[in-house]
């Protein structure tokens, strides 16, 4: 029986655009705001826009921190943008604050001389073979909007980077866990392929 992907609703971020992209490529999905729904899903997507401390506060307020941590051990999880950053230990955005601690590393301002935020299409440099970029060419373009980025401690956790006057971690992965700093739901065919690849992990 085909399952469904839970798009985690914690009151932050544009859940509907992720949902519409999944609908378009035929991946069953639901927007879920409770632990019970998240536990019933086969895979999880953690979206998010905005500031890191607000994101963590919203997850805590929704009472979903422990559920996400425990569920991420047994099913695929994809963090998008802020949702990817929240997977890490901590962030220096505004104030130093703790994240979900699922991937070792920190989140900080992009160390670049270029304009911030980075807004627009940048090309991926695939660093390590990973399920998300399967079937994609190196140098595929995806859409970014961010000022902060994650620095995984372990280079093994970097799937792809982009060059924005500094090497920026664009895809992170650790076991079942994945993160895209860019927005696959706004990255045209390449982004849709990445979402399909993620869905393949549990089909």
């Amino acid at each position: 029986m085909p399952g469904f992907t839970a798009i985690i609703d914690y009151g932050i971020g544009n859940l509907h655009s992720v949902s519409k992209a999944l609908d378009y490529i035929g991946i069953k999905n639901r927007i879920c705001g409770t632990a019970r729904e998240i536990k019933a899903a086969d895979a999880l997507i953690l979206p998010g826009v905005g500031a890191f401390p607000d994101g963590m506060a919203a997850l805590e307020k929704a009472g979903l921190v422990e559920t996400i941590k425990s569920q991420s051990e047994i099913k695929p999880l994809l963090g998008i943008c802020l949702g990817m950053q929240l997977l890490f230990d901590k962030s220096h955005e505004l104030v130093e604050s703790a994240g979900l601690g699922l991937i070792p590393g920190t989140v900080g301002l992009i160390n670049t001389g270029l304009k911030l935020p980075q807004i627009g299409w940048n090309s991926l440099a695939i660093k390590k073979e990973n399920p998300l970029t399967r079937g994609l060419d190196d140098d595929s373009y995806v859409y970014f909007v961010h000022s902060y980025c994650a620095s995984p401690e372990n280079p093994e956790h970097i799937g792809a980077t982009c060059d924005y006057g500094a090497e920026v971690c664009a895809i992170t992965m650790r076991g079942n866990l994945f993160g895209c700093q860019f927005h696959p739901e706004k990255s045209g065919d390449v982004g849709l392929q990445i979402l399909k690849n993620f869905a393949e992990l549990y089909r």
Binding site: A21, V49, G120, N122, S187
Partner: protein, 252 residues
């Protein structure tokens, strides 16, 4: 490397695309949803809908179009025209737009920029500036397509908008608009070099080299065009191939 963006702009009036679109293989040349999909397939990096009716009754129509477009187009979608309140932002973002451009309403009430940025994030607040040259060489902000003059200087207004929380500037030259003589390079450069947020140049493009000029000399991050694409004088892939051949990074 970050690509320079090519953005077609669709003027929408009462739910229909105006400024005639002259594409073959289009079932309905006036359907904004179909056109947005076509442009996206051709490699447009974003789509802009400019609602030129912008009456209260038309708002519902635009929301409907945005909803339909967001179900089948997966590149960023910007909606502008007649946005006056934070509630307008919320309604259109909820329908599936990624960014909202504001123009006159932000001139009248600057807090619209800061309120919207606080509520929805700077990434979705685009300040559209219509400007024209003064005799002394400075650039004056105008409204209603140039019919209303303001005291604002375009460079100062762009800088202030950045401070207020705007995420991008869409800079339209009223002098160049419709001339096909090229973007106002000097004005684009003056604004782009004064702010740290991306500048989308608009107005005046007529040839391939105009795009090159605005990205190099003009320092623009993106270029917006309407009729040149709609009438098929140039296509998005053609512009991108040309820019790529001249070593400008574009998404192919």
């Amino acid at each position: 490397m970050l690509a320079k963006r090519i953005i077609p702009c669709l003027d929408v009036h009462d739910g229909r695309v105006v400024k005639g679109v002259n594409f073959k293989n289009l079932r309905d040349a006036g359907d904004p949803v179909e056109l947005a999909g076509l442009y996206s397939e051709m490699g447009a990096d974003e789509i802009v809908f400019l609602d030129i009716t912008a009456t209260h009754a038309a708002r519902r129509t635009v929301i409907d179009i945005v909803e339909k477009t967001a179900r089948c187009v997966f590149v960023p979608l910007t909606v502008g025209g007649g946005i006056r309140t934070v509630d307008d932002f919320r309604d259109i973002l909820r329908a599936g737009a990624d960014k909202i451009s504001v123009n006159s309403a932000a001139v009248r009430d600057k807090s619209l920029i800061s309120e919207a940025a606080k509520k929805f994030g700077s990434q979705c607040v685009v300040l559209a500036i219509d400007a024209k040259r003064r005799a002394d060489g400075s650039f004056q902000v105008v409204l209603n397509g140039g019919r209303i003059e303001t005291e604002l200087d375009a460079i100062e207004w762009a800088k202030e908008a950045e401070k207020l929380g705007a995420g991008e500037i869409m800079l339209n030259s009223i002098d160049a608009d419709g001339t096909k003589n090229g973007f106002d390079i000097e004005m684009t450069k003056a604004v782009a070099s004064s702010v740290r947020i991306p500048v989308i140049a608009s107005g005046g493009c007529g040839t391939l080299s105009h795009f090159y000029d605005v990205f190099t000399e003009g320092q623009a991050d993106a270029a917006l065009a309407a009729s040149i694409f709609h009438y098929g004088e140039l296509t998005v892939p053609q512009v991108k191939r040309y820019l790529s051949s001249r070593s400008i990074a574009v998404r192919m």
